[in-house]
Symmetry: C2
Subunit: 331 residues, 2 copies
Amino acid sequence: MSLRTPYLMFIGDAADQLAAKTAQGVVDWRPEWCLGQFKLPNCNADLGLANMTLEEAAEAGAKTLVVGVANRGGIISEAWTATLVRAMELGMDIASGLHNRLRDTIAISDAAEQHSRSLFDVRHPTRHFSVASGVPRSGKRLLAVGTDCSLGKMYTTLALWKGMQERGMKSDFRATGQTGIFIAGDGVSVDAVVADFISGAVEEISPANDADHWDLIEGQGSLFHPSYAGVSLGLLHGAQATHLVMCHEPNREHMRGIPHQPLPSLEECIALNESCARLTSPEAKVIAMAFNTSKMNDQNASDCLKSHADKFGMPCVDPVRTGVDPILDIL
Amino acid sequence: MSLRTPYLMFIGDAADQLAAKTAQGVVDWRPEWCLGQFKLPNCNADLGLANMTLEEAAEAGAKTLVVGVANRGGIISEAWTATLVRAMELGMDIASGLHNRLRDTIAISDAAEQHSRSLFDVRHPTRHFSVASGVPRSGKRLLAVGTDCSLGKMYTTLALWKGMQERGMKSDFRATGQTGIFIAGDGVSVDAVVADFISGAVEEISPANDADHWDLIEGQGSLFHPSYAGVSLGLLHGAQATHLVMCHEPNREHMRGIPHQPLPSLEECIALNESCARLTSPEAKVIAMAFNTSKMNDQNASDCLKSHADKFGMPCVDPVRTGVDPILDIL
């Protein structure tokens, strides 16, 4: 899928700011694609964008309305239908990151057909992928891996991408989850791919490139997560990453959603990721670590980063607190 | 899915014996479920079963017609439609292991509806699976793992299951691929599950059981296969195997379908499988090896098994050539 830009960000009747997290991520990383926001009357979130009517957005050139809101159960609300249909009448495509499909709402699917508009359910891969070939390919690829889910892999990758853009380095961000897809305008939600094609999908979204070009690939899950490790391993093999960045949250007490499962040590997580990555990328190496220190005070965070940098002999940053320049300096 | 037995084995217009491989596997391991075979005029395979007309099979009590034949491209042939429709008229369900779906052929889907018959596309999971919990469960579970794909994991698991049945041990064979599903009458094709649910699907098909009950779980792929390792890791974590059997073909020159990729050593394959398995099953251990020595003469095969048994200190068998008694003896 390739989304047309710029976007009108639809945050509907978001119950709170957290419900608009996906939209906020897009605004943070692609402000130039976000023309404005559209809210319904009972919306409790705000993206800091201009409020626009659908007509104003169409006039300003909006090409896709992005449903960047999660409601309870992650489904498409009936209260949104009239807005989505009207946006299509005005020439916009619709893109959603929710679990159920836009086309399963008959009024939405009918309007898309009537107005020849596209519906993008970014969680649901629509392409047919091939089985991975494992054939080595040119270009540099960096993959964010982690000790667990949801600890900053996307954020880290995007921070590196933005830094490379600023330094004039050739790079692309390669999205593997729904928020990332809105930010990249393309990509595949790898956890929704049929299992046989995980690695093949990743090979396809990060193809061979110039020797000095960087693909910065969003990681998913962890090799140590009992629910999702298959996705992480397929991603690792398909990525053929030359460089790995290990992401970690020091304060986490157990694997996300699995109270009985402790986090792996950084040492064993680095060792297993490197050893598995080398199946398809013999030189793969963890070259830096990105910590999520959001639950620490400044002093503790600074101590944590310094002690790990000393112990592991590599740059250790918090992308939010310190930025990623020390990593960019060595790439 | 749960298939109704007994079966009428449909081998259609199989070009050669190999094209009826799936059907042959079912006949080999579940002869008591295979009432007879049905061929079209230009069939070049034979299962050694009685030839039956559809009417004779229905009369004899056949509950499911099993499409156990692969044609070029793995799709359902138009030449088969009349037979499948007639079988449904006579009260049989239809089960297929091919890639495309029975219901996508309109005449087949119409007949199923008209006669209230079930269509089983065993490659395509129809259940909704949960994300794996990773919670430890009771019972003993043995998983066949391997250095590569297609080197005897299903055959090894079935040989152990049959041996346990003969010894009066409580055991079930748990199928994870299409031929295995026909043999078990149930199961899930894990490589066709959505990636997020690989481990969850395996947890579901091998649930908690009596402390002295064995689930013998069919393995898939290899942690060292660049195309499919994600499936293998998800399967390994979901299985919570207490016992692993390593399957290997000594003469193989490269990973199946990947000419540039050498096979891993047995040492590293054992080490990685044990270390990953222990995430969800702390005592997991490779306790035996099953070799496919079909390309060796008797002397070489015997030498190979003996030298590996000495070197690794565990039973090494070829399930076809020597049987699996040495493994059963230690379980």
